[in-house]
Amino acid sequence: MTDIFTISGAVLIFTIFLCLYRVVVGPGACNRLIAVNTIGTKTIILLVIIGYIYGRPIFLDIALAYALINFIATLAMAKYYEKGCIC
């Protein structure tokens, strides 16, 4: 059963590299921003998978905190590019 977790993690890392293409190439700030948001939401699943592989449930707490931090960071960057300041 650990094999399907390892294969899932490998596939997720591959999709993260696919998103990284848009971060490097993509024209303008908005394309890069949405690609970074996608990478962040895939990292949450990767954290849960790592927690299941090593048998440590503490990774679920890290995933919960990472979800909230990722949302706040994306919202702050969107606000900054829209108005020029975080206000």
């Binding site: 059963m1 399907i4 899932s8 596939v11 997720l12 999709t15 696919l18 998103c19 293409y21 848009r22 024209p27 303008g28 908005c30 394309n31 921003l33 949405i34 690609a35 948001n37 996608t38 939401t41 895939k42 949450i44 699943i45 849960v48 299941y52 449930p57 679920l60 707490d61 995933a63 919960l64 979800a67 909230l68 990722n70 949302f71 994306t74 919202l75 969107a78 606000k79 590019y81 829209e82």
Partner: protein
Amino acid sequence: MIDVLRIPAVALIVLGLFFMIVGPLGLIRFPDFYTRAHATGKCDSLGEALILLGFILYADFGLETVKIALLIVFIYILTPTATHAIIRTAYVLGLRPWRPGEGRR
């Protein structure tokens, strides 16, 4: 009992991985910013919810189940909100939507 539940768990994880692959494919292939946001915003929410649902079915019932259910609720609220904020930023900055016949941008 648990061994019976592992079959739909693996099926849900594989289905979620399909959506997780399709989303970045749209992020690479689509011609415009708004269509890329359309691809990633929905595929990410659905794929992550399916994978986490598979993890709920795999594990025993306990504190982990509650935490993963909370993670699903957070993702279903936060990911569309973040996508909406980024699209509003692009609209305010003046990006025009893509029309048929134009080149890739």
